[in-house]
Amino acid sequence: MGRLLSFFINKNDVSRYPGFGIITLLFFLFLYLPIMVIIAFSFNENKIVSVWNGFSTKWYTSAINNQTLVDSLQVSLTVAFISTFIATVIAVSAALALTRGDDIKNKNFSIMVVNLPLMLPEIVFAVAILILFSLLGVQNGMLKLILAHTCFCIPFAFLPIRARLQGMNNNLEHASQDLYATPWVTFRRITLPLIMPGVFAGGMLSFVISMDDFITSNIVSGGGATTLPVYIFSLVKQGVSPELNAISTLIMVASLLIATPALYFATKK
């Protein structure tokens, strides 16, 4: 509140715009109220969601005991772990190659290729890969999900790793080489430890992106593999329910637990 008041007091500061603070405040309300509503109503005893009837945690118990939910969570976790791992390895390799070179024209083209999934609406990618899988006769739902997720996770892993590499003075690698280290030893002893926060952030981000993906997973899934967002979507289509509120709350808490360290490492100097 003090910050808001300072607006009206500090009239001589040319860089302040009255009204922007109020817009910001309203914006944050807009951003967090819906989330608060879900969390609040997840503790509602009443089966009719919008009528408050008393506090209860029974919907959490029923959510945890929902076997389909647990199964879909397992699918999501497996897909996210495997595709994050592959995407991160590929991203480290690409980021190294593309930050430590000097012919600019080619480099920008390669960066564009690596970031391709970010430039198209996801539905385009989803449909394209669906047709590819059906032409190739790929039946295994898990395999389809892993391949698709690996592809669109690459840029999310790539960007923070590349940012980290760019922020790192390449004289450090020169110094290591100058002190008789081979390129491989230089990578293992100097480069990798120093870009580790970036690798970690990139890995976390692609993990969250994979866990969160709906559009591609919804189109590609089948063959016995339903991911968590696809399952929740099917619940939402049946209408609102207090159990859904509880599930959503659990997912939000889990996302925060993963996203917070990732964001922290991504911005760390």
């Binding site: 302040r16 922007f20 509503v37 047709i131």
Partner: protein, 293 residues
């Protein structure tokens, strides 16, 4: 190893994935869009532009082509809603980004964190939040009724407004972050210089701040507009079955309708809209650069 061979081996895995899982599939999509659709699902390998004409025309009883506005309406709605989302995100996002950038050093990362946080919360859950709020007998309606504002309202859900709200909610962090980054680069002394030279705050905003933040504004606009064009969740959950957008129209062709050729041609059309938009932006940026040099 020379720099070039290192580059080659380093990007090879990424290239392989992108070529096999992105570029070739896009080629296949284009191929399928040129084939005849098979009434039993999938497509027949027979060349035909039928799936493209189907976007504009359908056959009447006498097998004559007849203009059909059904799909044009969806395409128009998609573009219009995406543009509105991007513009509203800009109008809300710019003041927010600016306000955050003017806070103390310790406050800034906290506010930025709060902006990004919902973005990492499951997309489906975020859209669901609005279903919960806007549905019949939902939180908003019950709330309004409780305070005696209304007796009965038509459903707040299943209209363009609901979709617009959901889309802004989903994509606004993508507008704020790049704008914030460009405002952060702005030297505050420039604002003081403008003020010193008798410019009012509003003039400074239009003549100094906005022109210098153009790069951030443009990339924020692209980051919001492009995914909006292909969005699927908002039209299904907030728009209901009736008010469709291209995203769920395409998805239906590969699901319920099983009309792959038509779905493929819609996908190509969507891709073209995105590419035209990106191309226009790139040309504008090039022109601006030329002006700057």
């Amino acid at each position: 190893m020379s720099k070039l061979t290192m580059r080659f081996w380093g990007v090879l895995p990424a290239y392989t994935v992108m070529i096999l899982l992105m570029i070739i599939p896009l080629g296949i999509i284009f191929y399928v869009s040129l084939m005849t659709s098979d009434p039993y699902g999938g497509y027949k390998p027979l060349f035909s532009l039928e799936s493209y004409t189907q976007i504009l025309y359908n056959y009447d009883w006498d097998n004559n082509l007849e203009l059909n506005f059904q799909y044009l309406l969806i395409i128009g709605r998609t573009i219009l809603l995406s543009l509105s989302t991007a513009i509203l995100c800009l109008l809300i996002g710019f003041p927010v980004a600016y306000y955050i950038s003017r806070q103390r050093k310790e406050v800034k990362p906290v506010l930025l964190y709060l902006v990004t946080l919902p973005f990492w919360v499951s997309m489906v859950v975020r859209v669901y939040a609005w279903v919960l709020i806007l549905s019949n007998d939902g939180v908003l309606e019950s709330g309004l009724r409780l305070f005696g504002f209304v007796d009965d309202i038509d459903s707040l859900l299943y209209n363009n407004g609901a979709m617009l709200t959901g889309m802004i909610y989903s994509y606004i962090p993508l507008m704020i972050l790049p704008i914030y980054a460009s405002i952060e680069k702005l030297d505050p002394r420039l604002l003081e210089a403008a003020g010193d030279l008798y410019s009012t705050r509003i003039q400074t905003l239009y003549r100094v701040i906005i022109p210098l933040c153009k790069a951030g504004i443009v990339s924020g606009f692209i980051l919001v507009f492009v995914p909006c064009l292909g969005t699927v969740l908002e039209p299904i959950l907030l728009g209901g079955g009736k008010t469709m957008m291209m995203g769920n129209l395409i998805q239906n062709q590969f699901g319920v309708s099983r009309n792959w050729s038509f779905g493929a041609s819609l996908t190509i059309l969507l891709l073209c809209i995105v590419l035209i938009f990106l191309f226009l932006q790139a040309r504008r940026a090039a022109k601006l650069n030329q002006g700057a040099n």
